[in-house]
């Protein structure tokens, strides 16, 4: 199946594997936007990515680049370079690459859930939220015209264990950056460095419209937690979301404003869906 895809889906950058896991003895046979993909690393370290036919024949070489611990490609012709994350250049943070986790839903559902504050007390009970502190205080979600990115700002939430390194409950500041429709990064107050932010990012790799491999990283100031402790903290949170995500219907993200009844806490979702609609995204939406 190689149905025609719209530029809004084709022209994004997608992660297909972590740099660490794409080894010369371990190619990655996968899919992207419903098409077969092969990622390989040569013995000398060069990465090549190609689009293939369903029968496994090479169709064409694809652009590839390695940044932020990941291997990226695109099926289209992105007008912008891969978004810049200057925090990766700053000293002192540790990078945790969380491994591919597969979810049966659309990339839009995954990003929208990532932006949602209101589910914390119910889905991530006693970690990212707790009853009765369930109120989502007013925040802002808006498209930054100059960068063409969606930003959600001025978020605050009471969190029992905001990060792996947290020693107790705290009021945590949040902001979210959605640099392209199917990628999102959050910035939250770091328990490891006062006044600084830790980053958590998700890069859904849409295999099909309602099936994604999700690549997830943390970039944090944390001198106390073990690498495994940080990793498993994040993996646990991810699996709490996964069961909820897989139960959402329809699996495609509905863009019609009348499809689901929003509340004020859903400002980010409203803006996100409106943005996808204006961009002309069709892959993975309803």
């Amino acid at each position: 199946m190689s149905k025609d895809l719209e530029p809004a889906a084709l022209d994004q950058w997608y992660v297909i594997e972590s740099s660490e896991d794409l080894r010369s003895d371990q190619p990655r046979r996968t899919r992207l936007l419903g098409r077969p993909i092969l990622g390989e690393r040569s013995a000398s370290g060069t990465v090549t990515i190609e689009e293939r036919t369903e029968e496994g024949e090479t169709l064409r070489k694809l652009p590839c680049l390695e940044r932020y611990g990941y291997v990226w490609t695109t099926l289209g012709a992105p007008v912008k370079p891969l978004f810049d994350m200057p925090e990766f250049e700053e000293d002192g943070r540790r990078l945790v690459v969380c491994g591919v986790l597969t979810v049966r839903t659309s990339p839009g559902r995954i990003v929208e859930n990532f932006l949602d504050l209101s589910h914390f007390p119910f889905v991530h009970t006693d970690i990212l939220g707790a009853e009765p502190m369930t109120e989502v205080t007013p925040y802002k979600a808006k498209l930054d015209e100059s960068s063409g990115e969606l930003w959600v700002t001025e978020c605050g939430f009471y969190q029992p264990q905001a990060m792996a390194a947290s020693s107790g409950a705290a009021q945590v500041d949040y902001l979210y950056r959605v640099p392209q429709p199917y990628a999102a990064v959050l910035y939250k107050s770091s328990p490891g460095k006062a006044g600084a932010f830790d980053l958590i990012g998700i890069f859904p790799q849409p295999l099909e419209e309602t099936l994604c491999d999700v690549h997830c990283f943390m970039l944090v100031y944390d001198d106390v937690s073990s690498y495994e402790g940080m990793l498993q903290w994040q993996q646990g949170i991810f699996l709490q979301d996964r069961i909820i995500l897989e139960n959402q219907r329809p699996a495609r993200l509905p863009l019609d404003p009348k499809a689901e009844l929003p509340s004020r806490a859903d400002t980010s979702a409203i803006q996100y869906r409106r943005w996808l609609k204006n961009l002309g995204v069709e892959f993975g939406v309803a």
Binding site: T102, R104, F122, P132, G236, Q240, I243, N247
Partner: protein
């Protein structure tokens, strides 16, 4: 201090965490890089368990592998009531029978989950079919137990057999196995989830998580 070599997403490790919580027993965890690093297949861990599997429990000089074996040990040592691993020949035989089922037939549901969540290259259709056959056996058994006023897997009271069987049944949706057709299993899962000291793990929908949690709290 009891030490559990642990992976947060492992249902087998959760068997041990759950049981330690039900017993109110303190312990510490050592997170092992099961995914994506596969630390459990590397030399350091293989010294602890040559089978390369989690969980492993260390208590003093004793090192045990296999969740079922660990449950039997913990009940034998730390449950003064003796109810979790009853000291009666027939009861103990029934417990052992279902422990074996938990470590055997039910692990097909675990493998389906490994395929669906962590991309393990398994024949998932076959695994799901085998898991459903095991669920039918468990569902029929639990329905008969209810008729006998004996609503737990191995008798009138919960035992380690219930704890061994619970995780991969409760996590079945992660592996694409719905439980609509197993009403006795659903009732039994609900009974386990209200045991004093019950804890959940990511992927288990408790009556107080997800949609249900949106009801006003009492």
């Amino acid at each position: 201090m009891i030490r559990l070599y642990d992976f947060v997403l492992s249902g087998s490790c959760y068997k041990v965490r759950l049981f330690l919580s039900l017993l109110g027993q303190d312990y510490e965890t050592v997170p092992v890089g099961f995914y994506p690093a596969k630390e459990h297949k590397k030399p350091d861990f293989l010294q602890l368990n040559p089978l390369g599997q989690l969980p492993v429990l260390r208590d003093g000089d004793l090192v045990l592998r296999d969740a079922q074996a660990i449950l039997v040990y913990l009940a034998s040592k730390y449950d003064p009531s003796g109810s979790w691993y009853p000291d009666d020949a027939a009861a103990r035989g029934r417990v052992a029978m279902w422990l074996s089922f938990a470590g055997g037939e039910l692990m097909t549901a675990s493998a389906a989950r490994l395929h669906d969540v962590l991309n393990y290259p398994f024949d998932v259709a076959s695994l799901r079919e085998q898991a459903r056959q095991a669920f039918v056996v468990l569902d029929d058994h639990l329905a008969e137990q209810e008729l006998r006023d004996c609503p737990w897997v191995a008798g009138p009271e919960p035992t380690v057999a219930d704890i061994a069987c619970f995780p991969y049944v409760a996590l079945s949706n992660d592996g694409g196995i719905a439980r609509d057709e197993y009403p006795a299993i659903e009732r039994w899962l609900a009974r386990v989830m209200v045991l004093p000291g019950f804890i959940d793990m990511p992927g288990i929908l408790t009556p107080w998580s997800g949609e249900a949690a949106e009801e006003p709290a009492a």
